[in-house]
């Protein structure tokens, strides 16, 4: 009797575990591994909610199984470290600086697809290895209950002023929007000035977050008066049911001032991609008008293809003064910008 009492739960539990593992195996087996038309490995550094619908649609239309690894800027590092062991086919990034950096490290493959010509040369790599799809400007989002448009700082320089201490939020310095922005500022201001500006920023920032969604929500909720984000976060916050009394300042718009920094999000072809053919097909597909629209529509960015209307609420690219910097020039400064950020202590958060 003792024996049977011992055994029953044992077998039951073993059976349950085996069942669990088998169900797991079955379930993941059901999802066609590889599918009929092979697979596509996407490294995605963009907010997943903006990208998932497109990827699902691609999978459905082509029968190519899409495997996504969503992350943030750490994916750049990962691609770099997987140089001899390439797993990714394409890299969807929010940041031309990161993509150009990868290209200069010989980690991207040239692409001569005619589809690329829809995009202005300024917004794609010279060898076509990456191509921009949508534009985003760096702006200050502010809470209208806490601060008025007149009170808001109008230039980025002003953020270094101690009077803004604990008044604003920024992202962690490792965030690639931030890195490329710093690279651009280095071009405009030089190392020393950018460095001391970053240290002051670190000093003054009330909160340092991992991403921008945190910032728009927090500013909307009145946690802090304002924050440094990409312009579409402002439009996204406007759409919320609550906490939507926000405004946006495009910095440095004065006559002699440098203008807001404009970056592009896009897609890059990885060198040695295991599924190169699918990767090429994916990039061509992304450049079709419907997908271009979708890509910027979800996130309220401005499409780079001039034939495609900007989503309602998003500012057209010629409606504000943009920093006069060639994005492809920023790639080589990317590592230096990172170093500068590390020196200022902004890399890890508060």
């Amino acid at each position: 009797m003792n024996k049977s009492r011992l055994r029953k739960p044992f077998y039951l539990t073993v059976a349950a575990l085996v069942l669990a593992v088998l169900t797991g195996a079955l379930l993941s087996g059901c999802a066609p591994d590889g599918g009929n038309n092979g697979e596509l490995v996407v490294y995605n550094a963009r907010s997943e909610t903006f990208v998932k619908p497109l990827l699902d649609q691609f999978e459905e239309e082509t029968g190519i199984r899409v495997r996504v690894l969503s992350g943030k800027e750490e994916l750049v590092n990962q691609i770099e470290e997987e140089r001899n062991n390439v797993r990714a086919d394409v890299f969807i990034s929010n940041d031309a600086g990161a993509m150009e950096y990868l290209r200069r490290q010989d980690l991207l493959a040239p692409n001569d697809s005619p589809a690329l010509e829809k995009i202005d040369e300024r917004f794609r790599a010279s060898d076509g290895s990456w191509v921009g799809l949508s534009a985003r400007a760096r702006v200050l989002i502010y809470n209208k209950d806490l601060i008025s448009e007149a009170e808001m700082p109008k230039t980025l320089q002003e953020l270094a002023d101690p009077k803004w201490e604990e008044k604003f939020m920024i992202t962690r310095g490792g965030n690639s929007s931030m890195v490329t922005h710093v690279a651009a500022l280095r071009e405009a201001w030089g190392d020393e000035e950018t460095g001391s500006w970053l240290s002051a920023l670190h000093q003054n920032a009330g909160a340092i977050t991992g991403g921008h969604t945190d910032i728009r929500r927090a500013v909307g909720a009145g946690e802090y008066p304002f924050g440094l984000v990409n312009n579409y976060y402002y439009h996204l916050q406007l759409e919320e049911d609550r906490d939507n009394k926000v405004g946006a300042i495009y910095p440095d718009q004065g006559e002699s001032e440098m203008g807001a920094f404009v970056n592009v999000a896009g897609v890059a072809l990885i060198d040695g991609a295991p599924n190169e053919e699918n990767a090429g097909a994916f990039i061509d597909w992304m450049l079709e008008d419907e997908q271009q629209f979708e890509f910027s529509y979800h996130s309220k960015e401005t499409p780079l293809n001039p034939e495609i209307r900007a989503p309602e609420g998003a500012k057209e690219i010629d409606q504000y003064r943009a920093m006069d910097i060639n994005l492809t020039d920023l790639g080589p400064h990317w590592p230096d910008a990172k170093e500068l950020i590390q020196e200022s202590g902004l890399d890890l958060g508060i």
């Binding site: 011992l6 575990l17 593992v21 997943e48 340092i208 991403g211 890399d347 958060g349």
Partner: protein, 544 residues
């Protein structure tokens, strides 16, 4: 060390060396205390122990080789700040957990509170809530955009502060102290307290001079678990926007360079060792002997008018650590499910969790066997050494193990890099000790006389193992598997760093959804993880 001792130690090493060279088989006999195991179990144990230890060793080596410049820069800029953040959090959380845990344990074991059995269960249950899930529920309720703000207009306190992090972390770690201390209180020999009473001490003095000192080992063990957890936590701390060594290593590894991450890891490993050493030191000086003697039920201490206060206190803890997270998650799950959170993908994520955790549970159960067998049946310095090597992963944060795995697989075993194998292996390294403890406890209850009986009836050793030992320690094997399974399902940082593309697990999804602020989409997965974690609760609680 005095000179004489050093000389003595040197002589001893020379002596062993000589002995090993001259007569290897006798030397083996000697170091195994005359009872060496068979070749196969020893080989298995040795290989397992080494494999468990290599990734950590590799991180250490890379970190130490990180370069003087890198060390200097980090020592100058990063490390002092991180040290302060990490240590202050560890100390505050440990003390708070100690206070809550001991008070609650005393209330439910020694006083006349009503429904003490039910309270004991409720107070242990927060153990099944992964702290990062607890953090999500607190952000939903008390966050700057949370429910309280929406209802009352403002939040009572800032959840993204040191106090917020420490409070939430305490709520989900105090059960360690509670469980260990109440187990000790139940085994308590009453004679000492009675002697104290007869010697004229009042209740308070008895508690302070007799009860507390006798509980010292249990409290130490509890605080050790809490502080090691605090050092290793990634999810809760980073969701609440706080930076410790563990989160710094994670972000350093992601966006900047791995060598700096390895340098920070070396410091974190040192801190862990210091804490282990401190616990050992403070315990080591005192000797505790309780004779088994009487097992009378203690007379419950009458709380009198303090009963209400006691109930209120326990009620607050249970409400904050259990009722709040569960109800918030249930509520948000409802919304999430209505918005379509339970789609085909959710099933896929669940299956990935089950598969990887199931595989880890299986490997841990199998690999732990030779190690515990050697430890129990061939006790000697050698088997303890193997055991310690294999235990290394337990005290250390998942990020460090992940870092070691990335280093090793990317450089030396590229074919497996980026496959689920690496992930399962990381789980195994991290959680094997749980299987070892469960199986070891079981095996120690099986008398070696049974082995001898089997041998004398003509079974060869392997048949003794398969026909006598294994059937008898089944419950231990199962308990170990269940514990590993649950720990692996909950694991966050290593999973984030090592998952292959397209292989997101439930824990990863919770992280991704929550980091974008979609808490309703994170809620169903969180609830599922809590339910899964409740499976081995019986073993979890009895372990202490």
């Amino acid at each position: 060390m005095p000179e004489k001792e050093i000389a003595c130690a040197e002589n001893r090493i020379a002596f062993y060396w000589q002995a090993a060279l001259e007569n290897p088989s006798r030397f083996r006999l000697y170091i195994w205390r005359g009872n060496p195991p068979g070749f196969i179990p020893e080989a298995l144990a040795l290989v397992t122990a080494l494999v468990m230890f290599i990734p950590i060793l590799y991180v250490l080596v890379r970190g130490i080789q990180g370069g003087w410049d890198r060390w200097l820069t980090l020592l100058d800029t990063r490390i002092p700040h991180l040290l302060w953040n990490t240590l202050s959090l560890t100390v505050v959380v440990s003390l708070a957990a100690l206070l809550i845990g001991v008070a609650a344990a005393w209330l439910v074991t020694r006083t006349d509170l009503p429904a003490r059995k039910i309270w004991a269960w409720l107070l242990a249950l927060p153990l099944v809530v992964p702290p990062y899930v607890g953090a999500i529920s607190y952000i939903i309720v008390f966050g700057p955009q949370g429910l309280v703000r929406n209802l009352a207009g403002e939040t009572p306190f800032d959840i993204y502060s040191f106090g917020g992090v420490a409070a939430v972390l305490t709520l989900f770690t105090y059960p360690y102290v509670f469980l260990i201390t109440s187990a000790a209180l139940k085994r308590f020999n009453l004679n000492y307290e009675e002697a104290g009473r007869m010697a004229g001490l009042n209740h308070l003095q008895v508690f302070r001079k007799i009860t507390l000192p006798l509980l010292r080992p249990a409290m130490g063990a509890g605080v050790l678990l809490v502080s090691l957890y605090t050092l290793s936590d990634f999810g809760l701390v980073s969701m609440l926007r706080y930076t410790t060594f563990t989160t710094a290593i994670y972000f350093q590894m992601g966006s900047f360079d791995r060598l700096s991450a390895a340098v920070l890891s070396v410091v974190l490993i040192l801190i862990t060792l210091v804490i282990l050493w401190l616990e050992y030191r403070t315990r080591g000086r005192q000797k505790f002997v309780q004779d088994a003697g009487t097992f009378r039920k203690p007379l419950p201490f009458s709380l009198g008018r303090w009963r209400l206060a006691g109930l209120l206190g326990l009620g607050t803890v249970v409400a904050a650590a259990l009722a709040l997270p569960l109800s918030v998650l249930a509520y948000w799950s409802y919304y999430g499910i209505a918005r379509g959170a339970l789609d085909g993908r959710f099933l896929e994520y669940t299956s990935h969790s089950l598969l990887t955790a199931g595989a880890a549970a299986f490997f841990c159960a199998v690999l732990a066997l030779p190690l515990v067998y050697l430890k129990s049946r061939h006790p000697s310095p050698v088997s303890s050494f193997y055991e310690k090597l294999a235990m290394a992963g337990y005290a250390l944060p998942g990020v460090i193990i992940a870092l070691g795995m990335v280093f090793i697989f990317n450089s030396y075993i590229p074919a497996l890099y980026g496959t689920a194998v690496v992930l399962v292996m990381a789980y195994t390294i991290r959680f094997l000790p749980q299987a070892m403890q469960a199986e070891g406890a079981s095996l120690n209850q099986v008398s070696p006389r049974l082995d001898e009986a089997g041998r004398s009836l003509g079974y060869p050793p392997w048949q003794v193992i398969s026909r006598i030992i294994l059937p008898l320690i089944r419950p231990g094997i199962l308990a170990g598997m269940a514990l590993v399974f649950v720990s692996a399902v909950k694991e966050l940082p290593a999973t984030l760093l090592l998952r292959p593309p397209g292989m997101d697990t439930l824990a990863v999804r919770i992280w991704i959804e929550a980091s974008e602020g979609f808490y309703d989409m994170a809620a169903p997965a969180s609830l599922l993880i809590i339910i899964v974690s409740a499976i081995p609760l019986k073993w979890l609680i009895n372990r202490f």
